[in-house]
Symmetry: C2
């Protein structure tokens, strides 16, 4: 037996017990006549003590020769500490060791394995197995496991069945790039790895399973960014005989459950806002609503007064930044520079200071009477001491610009409080968006998303105006889930694919299996997919996604330690009938 | 709202209620003045009724035009049935329909969607989404989901953390073939899909996670057999600071939990038998112990009596087949032919009939006195009416031959009762086996398996005799799990790899990351992996594995409906820098 107890469980109630512990040496403090070792395992830290009066000399010598991260086993008696550490559950006791064995030595680790480490990002990634020993990282992995377990238990209780869908599938042409896998049994042909199990879950609904979910790995062969992994995890769900409201209710229930269990926060109904409305109010389809700063449209108040920039703009729109009238000229210039950076692309920034004393000062005073500026202030519901910031231009450009400014200010003003959770549903997304490059409509969500029934006539006359039964769940400025009510009618699916530019033959080749299945009585159905990696990170405190992944990939797609991918054997290439060309 | 209730929940307590149901039409029975429809969903079947006296004529006409597998929605009143069906939970009531809408029509399905279908295997696989509507298949998918949920909850409660390991990994040379995935970011290089997360879980132990599990897809690019899928699911587990007994106890606990929850069978401690012993007793390392028929070694009794076949054999061994002394000569000849088939390869079969009247008749009477035959009968603990069947030859050949005969007889005699569960642990597997083709030792389990400490000296003198701390969990003649205590010492791991024929450089290239990790204090650890697909099938009643997979692959590795893999786009090949050679 390696241990009678873990390093996280002994306390004053165990005093006098004879125990065996095993773990890693976090620190050794040698005070001459007394030597202490902090012994760590997954569950905590327990102090071992060796002293000249009570410990055998050979044992003390042995202890003094140990090093950091040695794996040891120690037997001894639980005794009360003279100076207790109230911050540790085990801080009231220590183990007076009477036997010690080294299970495995360690060379000196490349960084300190403590909550605050001296290791840089790169080093910690290279030695991920050492980084995982650190409590903050270890706890993130445990947290991820807990979230998954909560999701599974909740959905199972709600009658959802977890079904595993295939990983080696047929490639489909929509969306981002597929990873491909050459087939040995069918040489010259390739499997694809799924970007999502979309078609399979729809087939499960045709198959009558009624409620399906899966926590599932998906794959996307796209260029990597810091927080996008080529393999990622989804909570994938689908339901039958439901309307949009049923789906929203169900997964609102799941999200509430997670927020309650993990954060001890309860919610009433989540707000449901249309895409049109969030774009108008926040310039963004995943608004952070932990703070206000909603857009105020000012065409009426500020156009046609001789200020050419506004007069020529499609949209003049501002935000009221509370208690910032005191911003200096320098601060305002800096903000102006900020919005003029190429990443944002605004041509300038107009401000109106509503000073504490009630006076008004703006960067456009010469064009506007105080009365006109007062009307703006009134519309923006500003209070003395507030600052209005205004942008103008084409609506499709100025909204995202102002959205970026809004988020930047919130960040600077500390309004994105990580302890606050503000979920909302964004609904009624457009069905289609125009792809300038391809000169055709593409599906905003995916080609299986159903149009709102009342908008179906518009499919023939004005497809860009058609709203979809599609929705996103947004949490603190992040899209954490998105889904739709699906088309379940073969004819409508055909029409949709033709709108998206598929010929009859292409549609048949790519989606024939789904359209064929629809011939045999597909039920009305819809679903949602949550980005599990992001959900976990947000629930964990909005830290980076890859902290919550045990073995993330680096920016070239290689595993952090194992340095995949690797060279392939000639023989295997031959069997697969493929050749490397460069 | 599509439905107020499912088709599985209404009964006499709901009489008088106004309800809405939705589902598929299983059958329509038109008796002229009354029409009944059996409406099916995942939860059950509810009878709809339309009759001339109580139903609007237009509605009756509409109902009569419906077809099998149409998806409909029906509103009506729950009424008591005149002739009840006691076999259905809903069999006491029917719905007097007052409103009906067709949600989706269906063409005539290619087979009947009922418990007993007229569809052949191939047709059912082609239209898997229709097959899934059938209760027996649907229930298997629900059962699989339930097993997974039980496993997760049990292991979570035991302190195991579920960690997702990467799917796109580096190829390693051991074991069966890897699927490979060309990398676009690192062209000319390939990811591999994991055959198991073995090295990752060991790194998690080095990382101090202490108890890890994962229900995870693994991949093997081998030729397919009926019951082997190229992608399969494992319950993968690893623990630290444990000895073999701790691991066995933990996963015996899991298995008992499953058998209790799913089968309502409780167990005391599972038997633990050494590999050497099961090979001697059953000629097989995964014996079915639901019945006895243990091997009886008869060298002492039957050799050196002038019967050349036995005299020259290394091993004479038999089984006692209870109550089969009445087998006719014809039956015995047929069994002899059976063991002589090339798949079995025995040269002949000797029988001894111990007749009900106490007399003895054997096929080798001329070589043996009745006394000698009696000694055999006594050793075999045979009773009057039993039949002894005896094979001889080289031990390594005759044992598997007799094992096959034992299983065949058990099958014929109905001794493999699917309602009986007989688990056992097989322990002390050999560490290495000699590979005739490669003329070297290969790891019987995998190269990370530790030898028994007391056998380590044999590594230098007689490697083939070294026993491993490796074990299999066997259930009803199937290996459902296997694992080992791992090597956690860099030097021993190096020695093991060199025994397996790896040069220093190869070992470094292939396993360097693991051996490097071992430098930093690896804890003692070990684990197990369960074949989830097989476990589910056995717990579900020993039916074929692929019945429990929603979308299995056929024998060429293609998905049963979607016909993957598929041809790849030229452009994608170019980006990946690969070319198809044939």
């Amino acid at each position: 037996m390696y241990r009678t107890n873990t390093c996280g469980e002994l306390n004053e109630s165990n005093i006098g017990q004879q125990v065996i512990l095993a773990g890693w040496i976090q620190t050794i403090r040698d005070k001459g006549f007394v030597t202490w070792i902090d012994l760590r395992d997954r569950y905590g830290i327990t102090q071992l003590v060796f002293d000249e009066q009570r410990t055998d000399k050979d044992l003390i010598d042995k202890a003094k020769k140990l090093g950091r991260e040695f794996v040891i086993q120690a037997s001894g008696t639980v005794i009360e500490r003279t100076s207790k550490n109230p911050n540790l559950p085990t801080g009231g006791v220590e183990i007076l060791v009477d036997e010690l064995s080294i299970l495995n030595p360690s060379i000196v680790p490349p960084f300190t394995i403590e909550d605050e480490t001296d290791g840089g990002e790169e080093l910690r990634m290279k030695y991920r197995y050492l980084d995982i020993r650190r409590t903050p990282i270890k706890n993130k992995l445990i947290f991820r496991s807990k979230v998954a377990q909560l999701v599974r238990n909740y959905l199972s209780q709600e009658g959802f069945i977890e079904v595993e869908t295939p990983v080696l599938i047929k490639s489909t042409p929509e969306g981002a790039r597929d990873f491909v896998v050459p087939s040995r049994l069918n040489t010259g042909q390739f499997y694809a790895l799924p970007q999502s199990p979309q078609t399979f879950k729809q087939l499960l609904m045709v198959g009558g399973l009624d409620k399906y979910f899966q926590i599932v790995k998906c794959f996307r062969d796209e260029d990597l960014r810091a927080d996008r992994q080529p393999e990622f995890t989804q909570i994938d769900c689908e339901m039958s005989f439901v309307e949009q409201e049923d789906i929203l209710d169900t997964f609102e229930g799941l999200t509430k459950h997670l927020l309650l269990e993990l954060k001890n926060i309860s919610f009433d109904k989540f707000p449901r806002v249309t895409y049109a409305e969030v774009m108008k109010k926040y310039g963004n389809d995943k608004p952070d609503i932990r703070f206000g700063m909603e857009f105020v449209e000012l065409n009426e108040e500020l156009k046609n007064s001789g200020f050419k920039v506004f007069d020529e703009a499609e949209l003049v729109v501002g935000i009221n930044v509370e208690k910032c009238a005191s911003y200096t000229r320098k601060q305002l210039d800096e903000l102006t520079d900020w919005v003029k950076r190429p990443q944002i692309g605004a041509s300038g920034l107009v401000y109106i200071r509503y000073n504490e004393d009630g006076s008004i000062k703006s960067s456009v005073d010469k064009f506007y009477s105080e009365e006109k500026l007062k009307a703006v202030i009134q519309k923006a519901k500003a209070h003395p001491g507030d600052l209005l910031l205004i942008l103008s231009g084409a609506a499709s450009k100025v909204r995202p610009q102002l959205s970026a400014l809004r988020m930047e200010l919130a960040e600077r003003l500390g309004l994105r409080n990580p302890d606050v959770y503000a979920p909302l549903w964004v609904v009624d997304f457009p069905l289609l968006e125009w792809d300038e490059e391809e000169n055709r409509y593409v599906a905003m969500h995916h080609p299986f998303t159903s149009p709102k029934p009342e908008d179906i006539p518009l499919l023939d006359t004005n497809p860009g105006e058609v709203r979809a039964n599609a929705y996103d769940l947004v949490l603190n400025g992040n899209e954490i889930g998105g889904g739709s009510v699906r088309i379940y009618n073969k004819e409508l699916q055909g029409k949709m694919l033709s709108l998206l530019g598929f010929s009859q033959e292409e549609a048949e080749a790519q989606f024939g299996f789904l359209m064929n299945a629809f011939k045999f009585g597909a039920p009305p159905h819809g679903g949602i997919a949550f980005g599990f990696d992001r959900l976990v990170a947000i629930l964990g405190g909005q830290e980076v996604i890859r902290d919550y992944i045990a073995f993330p990939k680096n920016n070239s797609g290689r595993d952090v330690m194992i340095d995949a991918p690797s060279y392939i054997h000639e023989q295997q290439l031959e069997e697969l009938n493929i050749k490397i060309t460069k």
